[in-house]
């Protein structure tokens, strides 16, 4: 096969592969998915005590542009819905907690209910509507 034809085919394959990856990433990014599990000590170490209100626990890192988007969304929801608070921690400073809570990318937002259970998880900056729906599901909130 002529090199340039091979190159053309490879270029097409690379663009195709990147498109599939990009679409998969876009479908998952920022989606608040149901989660289960709890780690009371880890959460307490980050200032999330059981019995408190619903907490949006955000893991961020320096230099992370979508973290700022996530911060704005979570802070907005916390300010507008009673019983919701927003706690943001630096994942790099809480590596052990990040590992315990299976945080691999920043931003990751965990929705923690009043009982201290992690009931939702969003990797990437979530939309305001998605966060609102998640905190409503987390329960006992005045609608």
């Amino acid at each position: 096969m002529h090199p340039s034809l091979t190159g053309l085919l490879v270029a097409g394959a690379a663009v195709g592969a990147a498109t599939v990856l990009g679409l998969l990433w876009r479908a998952r990014d920022g989606r608040v998915r149901p989660a289960s599990g709890t780690a009371p000590h880890v959460l307490a170490g980050l200032g999330v005590e059981p019995g408190g209100p619903v907490t949006l626990l955000q893991f961020s890192s320096l230099y992370c542009a979508p973290c700022r988007v996530a911060r704005a969304v979570c802070a907005d929801v916390a300010a507008s819905v009673r019983g919701v608070r927003h706690v943001e921690v630096d994942a790099d400073r809480h590596l052990d907690a990040a590992r315990e809570l299976h945080v691999r990318r920043t931003p990751t937002v965990l929705v923690v209910d009043a009982a201290g259970n992690v009931v939702g998880r969003a990797v990437g900056a979530p939309s305001r509507d998605a966060v609102l729906a998640a905190v409503t599901d987390a329960g006992r909130l005045p609608r």
């Binding site: 340039s4 990147a18 990856l21 994942a91 790099d92």
Partner: protein, 140 residues
């Protein structure tokens, strides 16, 4: 230093076009040119050639950005691109065309992801790398 996020996005579009041209022409010299572009981008966001073109010709026609982003992950990503294209250049120029094609194709996947979807693989690697470095520092 912080960047208008549309600058690296523009650079990713140009990079994607150049990498497709490298694959189609099989030109080691074009691969070398892109390698140098990556090297300059990794050395300093200020002198990244496509970034300079963006600031000079495109940014003045646009509204100022709503947000700016940190330059470090972008520079790191350019460094990753440099490694891949350096390998590709050596491959093409030394006659190991398969090496050139594979390395260029991998760089194209990353550049196209950034251009079309705004997802910067190299930037994610930077954050991951920082975390790993920190973990090993702590355990050593």
């Amino acid at each position: 230093m912080t960047l208008d996020p549309r600058g690296p996005r523009f650079a990713a579009v140009v990079t994607s076009v150049v990498l497709i041209a490298v694959l189609v022409t099989g030109s080691g010299w074009l691969a070398l040119a892109q390698t140098l572009v990556f090297a300059m981008g990794a050395a300093s966001a200020r002198y990244a050639p496509y970034g300079v073109a963006y600031r000079r010709f495109i940014a003045p026609r646009l509204e100022p950005p709503a947000e700016r982003e940190a330059a470090e992950p972008v520079r790191f990503a350019q460094g990753v691109g440099f490694v891949f294209l350096a390998v590709a250049t050596v491959g093409y120029l030394a006659g190991a065309t398969v090496v050139g094609i594979v390395a260029t194709a991998l760089a194209l996947v990353a550049a196209f992801l950034n251009a079309a979807f705004g997802f910067c693989l190299g930037c994610e690697l930077y954050l991951l790398g920082r975390r790993i470095a920190q973990t090993s520092r702590r355990t050593s």
